[in-house]
Symmetry: C2
């Protein structure tokens, strides 16, 4: 039986990124797409609780089905796994290709990453792909063989992705990548995050912007370091955010 | 100088949980509240990108200021730190008290936890408090001394919380807790997540529900295990989700 590949993203169905990913995946398995009806960038692992979800099927061919869900990327995954796939468990989940990096701490805000975290919490192998270019009409040609190669390797080694998902970022604006690096997440934060403006009626409003500051710009293990140098970064992620390294230091805080 | 304590939550200002937390914090420092204007449960680390934010100040007393922001809990934190605090850096960030647990994998969907992750990414000490009761009129009396004690310990040992934030959960419906346990996050997932209904016009819609299934129900280190047994759980969390433990297993996947 051909593997079942479930695809989502956070930009929605009309973006070239997800269409490129669908084209790569179709020869490799049965493909079901469940993507957000509306743009969901920055939605992280958000879920819809106080309103119900609707799902709209737009393509229903042999081995290729497309749904849109009026919720977040995580809603798409949950509804697909619980309802839309008719009980069939996907062999592999793919997310993207996102228009814009999901590297460094931006990982925690990313709907693209929300998709793969939802999968790996259920031990379903999952890979997210993001390009450094935020343009809509980006040329994905340099990415095609890398994405195809990573998906083929994953499909032949699914057990390795039982407890870990892959966050793949690809540099923008270069025709040939230097290679593929296994990386960590660059920890840091944004500075000067808002552009404060005043509306015609004298009211204040604030637009998100900002520049990223790495905690350790010289660290040569992290995703942003290698992306800047023309390499594809592959960062394995897990769901658990428990800070095991801090347990001994915490005990004094709990003496109450 | 009194410490600056920044408080937020995901339920919004009108909930008793945040009011209780404000009452506990006021004797301990200058308090600035920046909470969402609308209910934001399940918003995770979501950020508002395509629309600007507005902030509304409702209280402006000596040592006590209250803002509401028409965004997510993470928006509240970002806007507070970049704009609303006038450049003053908080000594401690508090989130909650949430009406409902943020334990197990629900941690990744939680706006309450989004608040403290945003703080710790900037190395600002931060603690989230959640009660197991989802009722609005919960009696927080059993929680008061625990919360007060944890905050006082944190304020006298802020350096310990430079790279780690605390996720505190308190059991519902009991008058006296057994004690406080340092715990891990129970990994698992929800099953039977949607209630499929049909509207009067024949259209399908889906309500989120579901029951949590722990990967390892016998694991006696995790938060859900101890909460069930009447203990307060304190789980240290960090921002980084890099799966360092998987690096050696991943190298074969990257040979392309």
């Amino acid at each position: 039986m051909r593997p079942l590949i479930l695809i989502s993203n956070d930009d929605g169905l009309e973006y070239p990124g997800i269409q490129t990913l669908i084209d790569i995946a179709k020869p490799l398995g049965d493909v079901v797409v469940v993507s957000p009806l509306r743009h969901q960038s920055g939605m992280s692992n958000a879920i819809t609780i106080v309103t119900p979800l609707r799902a709209y099927k737009s393509i229903d061919e042999e081995g290729y089905t497309v749904w849109q869900v009026d919720g977040t990327p995580t809603d798409c995954m949950k509804l697909a796994l619980d309802q839309l796939l008719g009980g069939r468990r996907p062999d592999l989940v793919l997310s993207g290709i996102n228009h814009g990096y999901n590297a460094g701490v931006s990982t925690i805000y990313s709907g693209t990453i929300g998709v793969i975290l939802e999968a790996v919490a259920r031990h379903i192998p999952a890979i997210a792909f993001s390009s450094g270019s935020i343009e809509r009409d980006i040329d994905f040609t340099p990415c095609l063989s890398i994405i195809d190669g990573i998906i083929r390797n994953a499909l032949s080694n699914l057990e390795a992705l039982r407890d870990v998902c892959l966050n793949v970022n690809m540099p923008a604006g270069i025709a040939h990548f230097e290679g593929v690096k296994l990386t960590t997440t660059a920890i840091g934060h944004w500075e000067k995050e808002y552009d404060h403006r005043v509306d015609p009626h004298g009211g204040d409003y604030y637009w998100l912007q900002g520049s990223y500051v790495s905690d350790d710009p010289e660290d040569d293990k992290n995703d942003l370091y290698w992306l800047k140098r023309g390499w594809v970064s592959v960062t394995p992620l897990h769901v658990d955010q428990t800070a095991f390294e801090a347990f001994s230091a915490m005990s004094s805080l709990l003496k109450i």
